[in-house]
Symmetry: C2
Subunit: 196 residues, 2 copies
């Protein structure tokens, strides 16, 4: 395992609000949770991801996110809390996964490898160790995709190159918030090798 | 490193709302953040901690937490989302750190070893690897203490047996939310050894 300093891949993350399953397995658009913006921006900045895309096609929801970002990155909010300003520099609002992929391609001149996250065990899932090794060794950009509501739909899983194995702690209960899951996943994939 | 199944220590966590520093270094009581209750209960349950103590001496704040817990563990909330019901089973509201220690002593017939968490590098801090080894090998209970606001005060750090080193990602920025920090710390200390 290489050290964090030798890290090669550029990593992006996306939080999807559509298409998402609700409790009944129907396809819905979820609403934005304020602390998803704060917590995942802060974790993203801590693990030096290049951009955190919040995917929501509703203009009213996009407006909410942009106002929140403007508050913390300009004027009083920015001077009150400088590190929140830095954290939100990675946050970007877009309409769709297609737009996420286009923006990454423009930036990287290379298609990102897509990694889906899911709390269920799915066939062909990749382990944390294997994905970490690929990220440390490869030079392609990666996009890690997180869901909201009751999770990512089949159509999103189908376009992903990898499905990351679920996070298990010390038992069968693994109902983490997306804020907790994103933090742990970034730490496992991109954090220093504290165990060695 | 032993496997998770062999885990020996009983681990408790506490989230302090008093005494806490504010931005100016003054000692204050912080207010409860709803998602601190949800996210840390869910992470706590995932990593099989024995109890999650929310420490707040204000009766109005305690009432708020108890109403929230009652909603999700009884009646409509419990039937709507069964895993939230399980998660909140670990949540308990208390007045003070003294009460936390007394409750753990009653349960364990042994004083817990106290572990402070802090985002700053402090002298004599313990590494994740060392604390994990101690937890896996020892039979004393542990209490991991998390702060809110601008962090734990000197008087809390002074009574702790260990100060856990800060979480660093891939750079100097380490301004994680307490929800993210608690999730990553539980994963590093109590999670399976996914890297081996």
């Amino acid at each position: 395992m290489k050290k964090t300093d030798d890290f090669a891949a550029n990593v992006y993350i996306a939080l999807l609000h559509y298409p998402i399953y609700n409790k009944l397995g129907e396809k819905i658009t979820t609403t934005v949770t304020n602390l998803d913006l704060h917590d995942i921006s802060r974790a993203g900045k801590t693990y030096q991801i290049k951009k955190y895309f919040v995917v929501n096609h509703l203009k009213s929801q996009q407006g909410l996110i942009k106002r929140m970002k403007k508050y913390w990155t300009g004027g009083y909010g920015a001077s009150y809390n400088k590190n929140r300003h830095q954290a939100f520099s990675v946050l970007s609002v877009v309409d769709s996964m297609q737009q996420v992929k286009e923006q990454i391609y423009q930036e990287e001149k290379s298609e990102p490898l897509l990694v889906a996250t899911d709390a269920s065990s799915l066939p062909n899932s990749i382990s944390y160790q294997d994905l970490r090794n690929k990220m440390f060794e490869g030079d392609k950009p990666y996009l890690i995709v997180f869901g909201t509501g009751w999770g990512l739909t089949e159509e999103t899983l189908d376009i992903c190159d990898y499905i990351l194995e679920p996070i298990y702690g010390r038992g069968d209960f693994n109902h983490l918030s997306v804020r907790s899951a994103a933090s742990i996943i970034l730490d496992r994939l991109l954090g220093p090798d504290w165990w060695s």
